[in-house]
Symmetry: C2
Subunit: 231 residues, 2 copies
DNA sequence: CCCGTCAATTGATAATTATCAATTGACTCG
DNA sequence: CGAGTCAATTGATAATTATCAATTGACGGG
């Protein structure tokens, strides 16, 4: 891979603490690749040959059941994905597709597993990342099991706002049907949920959503102080 | 803790590979405790003071939202739980209660985090356990997002049967309303789902469920070869 | 600049799931 | 052995969500 790309990847928590020598070994065996939009990177059931690091672009992780599919996560740069499959060396449980043209670093799986064993700092960060990912999934499952769709949307907006340092104006990345799938509802119901939130301090103009009354939205969505948090 | 209890705990994958000296350090600082049924071990929001290892009994991990709650996992012996909260040293996202009288080993959190840093084999097993847990959550979320209740029940039964070496006769641990909550439905709907499965090779007698026609159940539930697997 | 395409919205209806209510049945306690 | 308790079931209804259908609106290509 090109030298110029390395710094931002090396800054990732996952790779930040490892020994320089090992990082060199990993990076020099990896390569960057650019994928066009709507390309499937891998499918459920495949064995992981690489750890993926999204450098630029947008990627969707999704699962399928018959003819339906569901967005499990949206990966934004810069972050790695499918670490759990790599660590367990088990087939993917999710498929991945690019939503936009994306630059992705591919780290050979065998090598990385090997380096993880040798570099304690890297292993610790991998462990931490998996723990954070696990907790993220607990949140998502709780959200799905005990909230209904409009509440999920409300809490999603509050969380997005919080992630963006409290910005009251949110610009959706990707299409609304993607958000619908992420929130576990149909696009039709997302539309209706968005208009329902008009009464609770949310106004929508295309992909631009504004929280006009934060308190009203909080009252409606009842975010959980521990669940609805960034980590 | 008592000497006699150690072997079965030491056999846990998590602790199996670590250095004997470190294991001694961990175990001698830990203690076993017996809790009566229906006791809350900890609540959402508390900081983890211990890693919990269920030695004997049955424990429920659940989340709450207002007046509703939902079973996230049922912990059977012998296994540890809330490793992710311990590793990240963040507040619990789930509460825990005993379902039966339970013997639990409590390992001081600070100590264990310390030993994990020092013992590579233990860290690797912790990492692996978190990866497996993450994948389990991906399965659960997929199940919830793209299957409806009767399908979830059908696949649950198939998976349970598979876990018990293909036994066609299943004895439920715990009450049916617990299973209902785990599967994300009301007890009423579990009742109906169970009778609906009568047409698809399942017969019920109290807490005793028999798969009378495995193929028929598979045809109905359409298990996913990768998703509906034990790891 | 118009047409075709497709995401998004809106309305109507159907399916799924939850809630409320009542009953049954198993088990315990006195 | 009978009363009380509670899980489980069953029926009726309501709420939520999905599906189907039609329309609107934005955008890019010819």
């Amino acid at each position: 891979m090109r030298e110029g790309e390395r710094p931002e990847i090396a800054k990732l928590p996952l790779f930040a603490e490892m020994k320089e020598e090992q990082r060199e070994r990993v990076f020099s065996a990896s390569h960057l690749q650019v994928f066009p939009p709507q390309l499937i990177l891998f499918d459920v059931g495949q064995k992981p040959d690489f750890l993926y690091v999204l450098v630029d672009g947008l990627i969707e992780l999704f699962t399928t059941n018959g003819d339906r599919d569901s967005t499990m996560a949206i990966v934004e740069p810069v972050s790695s994905f499918i670490l759990a499959a790599l660590v367990t060396n088990q087939p993917f449980l999710m498929s991945a597709r690019t939503l936009q043209s994306s630059r992705v670093m591919l780290i050979p799986a065998d090598l990385l597993r090997d380096v993880i064993k040798q570099d304690g700092a890297l292993m610790q960060e991998a462990m931490r990342e998996l723990a954070v990912g696990y907790r993220h999934m607990v949140r998502a499952l709780t959200d799905m099991k005990l909230r209904q769709s409009t509440e999920r949307l409300g809490n999603f907006l509050l969380l997005e706002s919080h992630k963006r340092d409290g910005a009251m104006n949110l610009q959706l990345r990707g299409e609304k049907k993607l958000l619908a799938s992420l929130l576990g509802m149909t696009p039709e119901n997302l539309s209706r949920a968005l208009s329902a939130l008009a009464k609770h301090g949310v106004s929508v103009a295309g992909g631009n959503i504004t929280i006009t009354d934060h308190d009203a939205l909080v009252t409606f969505a009842r975010p959980d102080p521990f669940l609805d948090k960034v980590e």
